[in-house]
Subunit: 330 residues, 2 copies
């Protein structure tokens, strides 16, 4: 059993996707870009938590930052669908009330996570998709953009390479599609094999947990495909009685095994610790159906677990009163 | 502990939605219509299971029948959205492989459950939505229809009444929207308070479980709203190691507590029986967040549980070798 601190310090953890090592040489400058982006976002969220801010606000702030950063596949810098469009998904959950909100297949909302939060706070629904989700976001006064706002030259290059290799992909097992991204040779994790999502989990000074996740999905994905990110219990879950979790990986396998909720269920019903539950789900359950990726999780005692079954995962965390930590590889 | 039969007889169970008693007088003829529809569908699925058919095929056949029957809110006879359109959702899951498929917000696929099954069997995805889901269904050769195929005069009357009462609804708690349906005075369960969904769960002679659910959602719902039906683990789940479950109710509460998967988790991790887990989820967990509705569930030993926290639920079951049973009220 982990030691239970009576009043754990608030903590924020974030991720920017999981994947394998890049085949190309990585310069220290390139790697530093990623550490810098993760570190800046953690610092801002840590500051908010130190000032008594809520876990919900901290994960919202962190995902705002990750969506705006073109290094990560969410918001600006999202990958392209097969039809050269963008379809973004996001979800947020409040561990204190079990309220949740999510959007899927939106292409005109600048910050999809804010749309998810609006669904949670200003509708009676949990999940809105496509044009209906966009109309709702607009009615809430959220910033709308032209779909090309999300486009970047490197993501377009990834799509062109993926489209060019389609014939080859048809020869593979269906799950190979997930790995269809082609490397730009500039990122620490191979963009060929990057499972792009961003997310955040937090525990605040009031003992409340929250989780948020946002993604552009996978390069060359079928229009209308929804992965685990916006599905409550699959890619995102938070419950003060157990944990807050945000996932990244081959979404379909996370949906079929309810990765995020399964950790909470193992803690609640089998008495597993956060780390035991998270490790079991990522290292044992997901591999049985060829699920690849990882997750970040915190519990109400401030325990942290960030397992992944790929070679790396952009990640980091910051406890109030301690130095910010960012890591990419094992 | 329930008695565990070494070779349990195959069983199929179905539901046609939960709700409260109708305020209007119910004639024996009206009630007989519902019993007849449920009974015919059960008989066909029971026959299929008796001949060695798979659980997947049995739940598919049953939901085909429920979708085609205008008495139930799925397929032909689906309710209208606020914009007087139809948006249908469906999901299916195979307990042997944990494969799953789902569609949401489709309006041109005659049988949404068949589209969900096509996603499971012919794509690498689990959930496709809106136009992308329809394009996929069409590419699989499924029957497409004009959206008004789903319309019936009584559903249109329900929408008109719901729209007329919008001003009143705004005075209520958000969850009241779920109860916005207005009675046509012809159904045993009050269409005012009907939580419309159809579903089926089955255990076949090979020991495999499957679950399927299909719905038109709720009258006057916001365009783009996705409820629990097509979300794996919320409204639909099947795992040979535990159970197959199909839910009906106030979808958002089922999403937030992962109703279907939670039953499996309680069985797997807490050692609860199917009935104990199902009763706890419906009678204790859902009410804490004002969740209303019910579910049908079977496990690999052939145990059956059909709890609901409303006044009635259209439901029935048939074990191979035994008489078909149909029930509406408690």
């Amino acid at each position: 059993m982990p030691l239970q601190t009576p009043r754990p310090q608030p903590i924020i953890a974030i991720h920017g996707g999981a994947g394998t090592l890049s085949r190309s040489h990585i310069s220290p400058e390139q790697e530093a870009l990623y550490h810098g982006a993760l570190g800046d976002i953690l610092l801002a969220a840590q500051q908010m938590l130190a000032e008594g801010g809520s876990a919900l606000d901290a994960v919202s702030l962190a995902v705002d930052g990750l969506e705006d950063c073109p290094l990560f596949n969410a918001g600006h810098g999202a990958v392209f669908t097969h039809d050269a469009t963008h379809e973004l998904d996001a979800a947020i959950m409040d561990g204190a009330s079990l309220r949740a909100g999510a959007v899927a297949c939106v292409s005109r909302v600048r910050r999809p996570l804010r749309a998810a939060r609006a669904v949670m706070e200003h509708s009676e629904h949990v999940l809105l998709v496509a044009a209906g989700a966009e109309a709702f976001a607009k009615s809430c006064g959220l910033e709308m953009v032209e779909p090309d706002y999300f486009s970047t030259p490197s993501r377009r290059a990834q799509l062109e390479k993926a489209l060019a290799s389609d014939a080859t992909l048809l020869d593979h097992d269906a799950s190979a599609l997930v790995f269809a991204q082609r490397s730009t040779g500039q990122a620490p994790l191979d963009e060929d094999r990057k499972l792009g999502t961003v997310g955040a989990v937090a525990l605040d000074a009031h003992g409340n947990l929250a989780a948020a996740t946002s993604t552009g999905g996978m390069t060359n994905k079928r229009v209308g495909r929804v992965g685990d990110t916006p599905l409550i219990g699959a890619g995102t879950y938070a419950d003060n009685r157990t944990a807050a979790i945000s996932c990244t990986g081959t979404g379909e396998m996370f949906i079929r095994t309810l990765t995020a909720y399964d950790i909470c269920a193992r803690m609640a019903y089998a008495g597993q610790s956060l780390d035991a539950a998270a490790q079991t789900v990522v290292m044992q359950v997901l591999p049985t159906i060829k699920g690849r990726g990882g997750l970040i999780a915190v519990d109400a005692q401030g325990n942290l677990s960030m397992p992944f079954n790929t070679e790396g995962m952009y990640r980091g965390y910051a406890r109030v009163g301690e130095a910010v930590q960012t890591v990419i590889f094992r």
